[in-house]
Symmetry: D2
Subunit: 338 residues, 4 copies
């Protein structure tokens, strides 16, 4: 029995808590979260033995084998380090942190504790569609990659919540907040590093984002160190749903992953035309991937190995996102050196 | 210069008139139609030298080489015969007629006048999608055919007009009025004859059709003489548009022609989901096919040959449609002998 | 902890065994299967305490709460009855049985033991796509149903195995073996009973099926007691994969479930054109549905309730399938009275 | 009767010749082309009265009303000017020219002769899919445009011919040769001008292009003067066909034009999966658009008006393409000032 404590019970924390609670030979032993009332409700519903309003208290619990960190991004590095001090395995939501130096220092700690599993929440790598594409690419079925295009656009239905959320705690900006997933996908599928970027963006659809110093839609064009061009679109106002799409153009063929964000296999013929209903958010789109990544985390602990995703992937993603943000702000090409 | 007179200026007659008028080395020499005011308008717009309110007068015009008959179905056989008497080539809209004996007699006349071209308006055979499928089938790319399914469903937007129209002149019923196109497609693609049918139908979506003794949606299952099963759906109330679809299941593969009635190559992502706009009626869906069939008619005249579509195809289609109607009325299997 | 024994370790039995073994608060306590060597392998891999070569011995095991029966169809009714005698809850794969009288008698026993859960393996009802369509229909979003069409076509890659299997133990024929799933879907989505059928079929693609008295492809047209027409296609030789599709035409709209049997959300652009990879069999297509149906079975036990699927659904499906087989053999309309 | 001479009988010249020859009230009066044997063949097949091996001789023909120039790009400006001197209307294939100063001078001549029609061959503007999208955009159905992405990728089957062709006469490079179509689409759909670009490219799939100083695939990211970001992919080696696609992301919705380059409405289900056959080149994809643009040219002559496409559109396209080429060569952002 692997015993896990979940820190943070926002949308993602709750998903992890439920997935852990449903997993065989795994126990959701503790939760920590600011809202005591909500904790009680969750503890009761998911049968959680211990409940805390303070992360540091939770990791004192000697029963715990591991923590799953889904707190605001600014807290990640400190919580990772604290968990290692207690001898815990760590699953941490992306990003590792918001500041490059801080992340580098944390990676040192992670490396020193390499008898403990460290796992980073890039769940798209566990999605069966992305896995299928990755395998085709690695098998050479589309030849060498020339171009990769990746879209991550949130549905407009979530905009109000985002603004509320962003007022409380800065998201880090579109490129850091949302872009790291697509940047990771680009690095992972191409096996290459981004060396130069040019980013653009506007607030046309949601001028109210100006107040929170955010943009509504952004693009970044990337040069990779193997000659691949990457093109990234990030947004917060898709009227049709949660649009996560990746295209890979190779010398022998092309792949599109989720070219249309189909909710399921149903097609509706009605007064609007021929309609494919769409996925409405990450909990729905990546439901299975979230289960698989936590299962992999637990299996890593059991099998005493590290996952494929490394802390360095988190650092690289953040470095590229920061370069994009800088490029956007200064309207210029930004080179990245590692 | 081939000189043609068009009889009947309903939706289809007008399409033929315009197509003839736009064709090189062809002249729309005359029109005949009951509504004199409309005739004037059309004659002016399309530059037509002669205009009649009476078919028999039109075919007296010595300049004419050919007629294109797009009048109500009940008039077809008489008009075909009259045209042959005047030594004209004949293009006739489907069906040849409504009564089997009458059609047979007309076919005799057609056969006697085989120095004149007789062409029947099964325009689907000229559609590039159907042509592409036909070629694949004939090349053996899907093996031997086991099952064929064909849908012909009119958009609900046309229902009111149909009821008005049906009150004036009986359509012959769903199977005769609409089914002959799909029956022809089934016979053409399978190279086989229908020998047994079972038909069903209802008026759920349009109870008002009871008044005109029509049904809104009907199905027919067919046994063909080469062991193929055919399945037919006909309707008048598709909310999404004009749904003409044919599927062919072969021993080595399947084909679907217009599985969704896409209007064009545009996909719309909006609050309804991922939407393909749809075709809204036959003038739009078969625009190009109507041009090609008239062009083939003219080429047959020029090259002194007969088209692939024979009058017998019209008879067979009508016989099967009548059997379907009978099967529906008596709720029983109906065999067809030729 | 609910303790379950799985009888039969064919493809489906193994799926159930694995799903039970992965479920929290549930134990795969026993397996029974003829092949002792295979049993050992499975017992070791899935950590199963007890292993039997004999069903009757297994159900003597006093630790068991329930059995999951996935043995050849001819054994089902006896094994159901035996399980109830031991006071066990029963999950049984479709069909309940092959003989109507035998099934009726078994249903009596099931009814007498209604303090025990009886669950039948119509997994399509648990598939999220079918669930989504069912909900739209029940919400009236497509109006009243006029036509339902359902395809169940196995991939040709499985044909050899099927022939081997059919030589050992009769499948009951295409309509009984495969059709019951589609018949259940038709009954479930329309809330109606089939009252008249006409079936057709051939062996064009697989003449070798003659040897085992089977057909390769079959169709059945059905009249339902609410005026709906059903059309069924069953087959064993789809070259493109596992084609399970259902279409529902309503008075206000149409739905298609899995119009193309997409394997995932990846589109491939290569020398063959624009390609959607396809699902290759039921374990892949209904992976999630199999988990959900067993979970529902376990929840029924825990919550002391019966599932939505009733034994009567199994009887009705078998009755319709038998009528189809008879219609096919006698080439005539067959009425069904209940 | 409008009498037109066609200059150049390459693939495009031939298309124009045939379309003119089929158009009512229009005559293909002359052709000029280097290959005398081929001219004879075409003249006979299309019934052309006059045939020349020299453009300047052709335009001496006093019967001509207009010329259609489809010669190598380097000849365009001289031929346009010569035609105006003879008082002819001019249809010219894109690009107007290869050198900006030369084009500007030519535009002056065009402006001086504004009693004569000047039409430029941006046929995509006449494609019904592009027209449909343009109308939706102009109606505000997708709000304000944020991002536009346009792909123009030739099928690999044409690569050998291209290399042969490029050895004889320089294409001007990928951005000028192919890019001007997509650049025009971007300018047209957004009603904006490109002000800054960053281009990338490689020869991975076709290293043999190095010999002719060409690249196989290229991208360009563009900043437009209304805040729109454009992303362009151009290529010569698509294995699946002729991929011309445009996406427009607006504040209220998205459009994709030809997201997959479907050849027709047929779907094939075979051993490769679910396959949509693809368009294999511009003559097929834009067949109808080529007819419509020449028809518009002729109508402009008849109605004494100028087409929507202006010579300035040609200049702008060339300026942007040249900026892309420069950005690619110098690997830097390039600003464009007008």
């Amino acid at each position: 029995m692997i015993k896990i404590g979940v820190a943070g019970l926002g949308r993602l924390g709750l998903i992890h808590a439920e997935n852990i609670s449903n997993m065989k030979n795994t126990e959701l032993t503790a939760i920590s979260n600011l809202d005591e009332t909500f904790n009680k409700e969750v503890a009761e519903r998911l049968n959680v033995p211990y409940s805390y309003t303070n992360y540091d208290e939770m990791i004192e619990n000697p029963e715990l084998d591991a923590v799953c960190i889904a707190t605001p991004s600014g807290l990640h590095t400190e919580q990772i380090k604290a968990a290692f001090k207690k001898g815990l395995h760590v699953f941490c939501e992306k990003p590792i942190g918001l500041d490059v130096e801080d992340i580098k220092e944390t990676i040192n700690i992670i490396d020193e504790n390499n008898d403990k599993v460290f796992h980073l929440g890039f769940m798209r790598r566990y999605d069966e569609d992305y896995q299928y594409a990755k395998e085709m690419i690695d098998n050479g079925e589309i030849g060498e990659i020339s171009i990769i295009r990746s879209y991550g656009i949130d549905p407009i239905v979530g905009l109000k919540d985002f603004i509320k959320f962003a007022k409380k705690s800065p998201s880090g900006g579109l490129f850091l907040d949302m872009g790291v997933h697509d940047i990771d996908v680009i690095r992972w599928l191409t096996n290459a590093e981004v060396i130069k970027v040019w980013a653009n963006g506007t607030n046309k659809a949601a001028p109210e984002l100006d107040e929170v110093n955010e943009i509504e839609i952004g693009t970044a064009t990337m040069q990779l160190d193997n000659g691949v061009t990457g093109f990234l679109v990030l947004g917060r106002t898709a009227s049709h749903g949660y649009h996560v799409e990746t295209e890979i153009i190779g010398t022998k063929g092309m792949l599109r992953i989720a070219s249309t964000p189909e909710k399921n296999k149903v097609t509706v013929f009605n007064e609007y035309g021929v309609v494919r209903p769409t996925s409405q958010g990450f909990p729905e789109r990546f439901q299975e991937a979230y289960v698989l990544e936590i299962r992999d985390f637990v299996n890593c602990i059991r099998e005493n190995r590290q996952p494929e995703i490394r802390a360095l992937d988190g650092l690289r993603g953040t470095e590229v996102a920061i370069a994009c943000q800088k490029s956007f702000e200064e309207d210029t090409l930004v080179e990245i050196t590692y």
